[in-house]
């Protein structure tokens, strides 16, 4: 099937075309993952808000 229609650049087969000149351009762009769910569950967050927390140690004075 692939041999019976014209291909670009003469000798290039569809597979060569896709791997070569028609491959996606290399121009990376970061797509950072967004935060949609809190790290901890709702129950844990409620409990941590309600329960008293130990005091953080104070830094050395002077």
């Amino acid at each position: 099937m692939t041999a019976s229609f014209p291909t670009v650049a003469g000798s290039l087969s569809p597979a060569d075309l896709i791997a070569g000149p028609c491959a996606l351009p290399e121009a990376p762009l970061a797509m950072p993952c967004q935060m949609l769910e809190p790290e901890t569950g709702m129950l844990r967050r409620i409990l941590s808000a309600l329960l008293p927390r130990p005091h953080a140690p104070k830094g050395a004075e002077g």
Binding site: T2, L17, I18, A23
Partner: protein
């Protein structure tokens, strides 16, 4: 100059008015039903039914109010200097997944030809992003892609990539493109495999994106085209005639927090990359895992990051194709149902705009609303069983019987009100179309009005069947069943009676049981429930009949009377290519083409 946007106060006022009117209708229905129930003494079931009717009416009224708001204005194009050159780098993204490449790639060729006719063709690249898993389809994609490049002299402008794994489905496919090639482009037009857009429309979208640097996403209102079946043409007419008015109402209320429907929309690549990297939700599908209805989430994330998301409903020349039968519609709806219910996990995400949360709630409501109607019907059938027998002699030693006052007038009033909410928006839209001249595109005012009545009858017959499919979808999702990502059937869509029966025998059973239960326990309701029960009992016939070719001229649309130039272009290209390709290798049968 970008379109004038309403002030924050005006927007809040409009939203409050819409919500207030909907709430008023819901509360009115609630009170009317309580008065009806009070006639023979209120019981818990009456209060439950009143609550169900409150929610259902509220939902119906919201749609009606949206239409009424949409009728008050007309969409207008922003004032722009259209001589401004297109300086941006643009790419048209066509994600495909086991689609027929002859159809999808001929659409790409037609859009490229249409863009070339605007004189801006060279500014646009096309990327076909394949997620196809069927090897036969993939080989055909490669062959047809080479043909496309040759046919359109597209070397250097046309790209093709097939992923080894289709992680994240369509959202993952787009994300993969941006991560690999995003920096090469300013704007990306995201399409579906069945999308088709006029070159002029695409160029106009770029101009609008260039004119408003805060615009992160520009959504068009796609019209359904090329429907052949009775069901498909009813949907096509509805999308062309009614949807623009509902969309206008929506556009007025959403401000800068517009929608994304996943396709026929342009994004600012940098904004999309910065804001729309989707996480995998904790847990397993249907509520955990990859986000299915990613488009709503991406719109919300863009808005959260401060970008404008806008629906420009004045833009014509944006098309898609739709399902041709109820079964394919139900299959697609199953996927959308799961995606929308999954949004219950996202609705509380930090930092989202209030309107985005409201849109998530509306999406969830759209799928659970049928359950409220069904609950109301079931409670109404059960009510006579639980009601105490009437006491005709409440006064001791009083010789004459006492007949409790009939609540029939209240029930009739309530029914008229609910039917009014269902019918009135469509009737008003038809009247406005006749007065404003829009009906001319639908074959004239008389034909458009007849089509409106026809669509009302058609949707009344199909609604009970669709209601049960939607209900089943909700229960499946709530029970934890993942519907997956089946391929859309985009073919002829005609079903045999046997196929229709196989897909709907359970609906027949429910209809028969429901009618029998009504006759046995609440015979007074039988007449009221026949319009719901009979289409259920006849579901196979309804599905079969509505999937057959529509030969009449009723429900004609502007794209049927005068096809858009890009449609004609695509038809010519498709026929030319089919003569070359299908003679050698017919379109493969897709393994995923299963019924709902």
């Amino acid at each position: 100059m970008t379109p004038p946007r309403p002030s924050r106060a005006a927007l809040t006022g409009l939203r409050a008015l819409a919500l207030g009117l909907s709430a008023l209708a819901g509360i009115g229905a609630f009170i009317l039903f309580l008065q009806f129930g009070e006639a023979d003494g209120l019981d818990a079931l009456d209060i439950l039914r009143a609550a169900l009717i409150l929610i259902s009416t509220l939902w119906l009224a919201w749609g009606a109010v949206q239409a009424v708001i949409g009728l008050t204005t007309t969409a207008r194009a922003p004032v722009l200097d259209r001589a401004t050159p297109i300086t941006s780098r643009c790419v048209v993204l066509m994600p495909v997944y086991n689609e027929d490449p002859l159809a999808t790639f001929s659409r790409v060729a037609a859009m490229d030809a249409s863009l070339a006719a605007t004189g801006h063709g060279a500014a646009f690249h096309f990327a076909i992003l394949s997620d196809s898993r069927n090897e036969m389809v993939a080989r055909r994609e490669e062959a047809l892609f080479a043909h496309l490049v040759a046919d359109r002299a597209g070397l250097g402008r046309f790209f093709y990539r097939r992923r080894a794994q289709n992680t994240g489905k369509k959202a993952g496919n787009i994300e993969d493109f941006i991560a690999r090639s995003g920096a090469a482009y300013d704007f990306a037009l995201i399409l579906d495999a069945d999308s088709l857009m006029e070159g002029e429309t695409i160029v106009e979208m770029v101009r609008r994106m260039q004119a408003e640097p805060r615009l992160g996403l520009l959504q068009t209102l796609p019209r359904i085209i090329r429907a052949r079946s009775r069901f498909g043409r009813a949907m096509q007419f509805s999308a062309a005639f009614f949807s623009p008015v509902f969309a206008r109402g929506l556009a007025m209320m959403q401000g800068e927090t517009g929608p994304f429907w996943g396709h026929n929309a342009m994004v600012r690549v940098r904004a999309f990359a910065e804001s729309c990297g989707l996480p995998v939700l904790k847990g397993r599908p249907p509520f955990g895992g990859h986000i299915m209805s990613h488009d709503y989430v991406e719109a919300a994330l863009l808005a959260r990051a401060g970008w404008i998301v806008r629906l420009d409903d004045d833009l014509d020349g944006s098309f898609e194709e739709g399902p041709e039968n109820i079964v394919d519609h139900a299959k697609r709806d199953r996927r959308w149902c799961q995606g929308n219910l999954q949004h219950s996990r996202i609705i509380g995400a930090p930092g989202l705009k209030a309107w985005s949360r409201f849109v998530f709630a509306l999406g969830i409501m759209a799928y659970i609303a049928p359950l409220f109607w069904l609950g109301f019907i079931l409670a109404s059938i059960a009510a006579p069983l639980l009601a105490p027998p009437p006491d005709y002699f409440p006064e001791p030693y009083w010789p004459f019987p006492y007949f409790p006052p009939s609540g029939a007038s209240k029930a009739i009033g309530l029914a008229i009100g609910i039917f009014g909410l269902l019918l009135l928006p469509k009737i008003l839209i038809a009247a406005r179309a006749a007065l404003a001249g829009r009906a001319a595109g639908f074959g004239g005012a008389a034909r458009a009005f007849a089509a409106t009545l026809g669509e009302l009858v058609f949707s009344s017959i199909t609604a009970p069947v669709l209601l049960l499919y939607a209900t089943r979808s909700v229960f499946q999702v709530l029970l934890g069943r993942d519907g997956g990502w089946p391929t859309n059937n985009r073919g002829d869509g005609r079903l045999t009676l046997t196929e229709a029966f196989a897909a709907s025998h359970w609906i027949v059973s429910i209809g028969l049981i429901g009618l029998f239960a009504t006759w046995a326990f609440a015979p007074g309701l039988l007449l009221w429930l026949l319009p719901v029960g009979v289409p259920m009992v006849l579901a196979p016939v309804v599905i079969w009949w509505s999937s057959q070719d529509s030969s009449g001229r009723l429900m004609g649309t502007p794209t049927e009377y005068a096809p858009s130039p890009v449609m004609a272009l695509q038809e010519r290209i498709f026929d030319r290519w089919a003569a070359t390709f299908d003679a050698e290798a017919p379109t493969p049968t897709l393994p995923e083409a299963a019924h709902a």
